[in-house]
Subunit: 218 residues, 2 copies
């Protein structure tokens, strides 16, 4: 694998490649040209060839990509075979939605436990995930190797909860608190799911769409 720095735009497209190829494989396809893959993803064939060239040689001229093989390669590039273990802080509505309905395992992660302060939840299980008291977090993290912390706590406790995860040795935080975390100097990677950014982009696209379909005043 080449050691050059991969741009953020490419990193963001890799999961989309994975998802698109996975669906194509489910539908029974065995190979695909870069132009067909591009059109199903809304990007150009040359963009795809350029993206994948960051990681080595894939595909054959005039043959295209063998889907199962490319899926394995992308899974490997994405680190899906690292079997990272995750815990989740906050078993409120959003935490429960992720625990019950999001498949950590099909993305290569194992969700091991949830932590909350609500006595009604502590000691229960959600799906197959046990819910522990927040006070038990340091001991749990000392006894278990946890690479990822999922933050679904209220925004006003986001920063101290992030610090607990960092103290416990996580390598990454998946942040749903709609706030910016300060992790400087920790070496920890934060990936935030900003719902507002997505809704605002939708609003832009809707109003742009309507401008283009309404009669223009010259």
């Amino acid at each position: 694998m080449k050691k050059e720095k991969v741009s953020n735009a490419v990193i963001r497209r890799l999961p989309r490649y994975y998802r698109t190829l996975y669906l194509l494989e489910q539908e029974g396809y065995e190979r695909i040209s870069s132009s067909a893959l591009g059109s199903s993803m809304g990007i150009t064939a040359s963009q795809i060839r350029q993206d994948l060239s960051c990681f080595g040689e894939f595909g054959k001229q005039g043959y295209g990509y063998e889907i199962a093989g490319l899926l394995r390669e992308i899974a490997d590039i994405l680190g899906m075979n690292n079997h990272y273990s995750a815990i989740i802080l906050g078993a409120g509505n959003l935490g429960r939605a992720l625990i019950r309905n999001f498949s950590f395992s099909s993305n290569g992660f194992t969700l091991r436990a949830a932590f909350d302060v609500d006595p009604a939840l502590i000691g229960s299980t959600i799906g197959e995930v046990p819910v522990f008291a927040l006070e038990a977090l340091p001991d749990y993290m000392a006894a278990n190797s946890i690479q990822v912390g999922v933050l679904t706590v209220p925004r006003n406790v986001a920063q101290p909860m992030a610090e607990k995860l960092i103290d416990g040795g996580v390598k990454g935080i998946w942040n749903f608190t709609n706030t910016e975390l300060n992790v400087r100097g920790s070496g920890v990677t934060v990936e935030s799911v900003h719902f507002a950014d997505s809704l605002l982009a939708l609003g832009y696209l809707i109003s742009d769409n309507q401008k283009n379909t309404e009669p223009q005043n010259a």
Copy 2:
């Protein structure tokens, strides 16, 4: 406002500009240079000038951007003043998390109602949002002008529910079902929040980070 086509990358950065400038304003700042704004967002000053030039002239050479004014302009570009009305289909864990904890109003949207099939929820209110029976959806949409449908239903009913929203006249769908919707020919914009894409990107960044901090074998 210029009429040239704005790239998807710029559209994705606009909400981040808004969010960053909003926080700066909250912290009491009144103006900011493109280089300071860039460093707080992790992009270059020239990228910022180029992005904003898509929409007209902002900022003054040697003075920077007046934050309150730029915020208003970006809100306008994003269509935040269009006062779009939204409804949400699916008041399960994720739906409830959005209804209770996500501020539609501070992003310029009004969440008017939720729809579900669970008799225990129908007729209740979550926060101040009424929950109606799914069968009431067509009449509700005929009687109310709704531009945005939020989809937080199980994946296996995502497509038929999207079609109900399209039949009811929405302009956009905010899709949390982790599945691709087919809206071809409808003129409706779909914005999907793909949790998996975000988690996979985090996994990549963690493993890349560790490669770079571990001793390299030459």
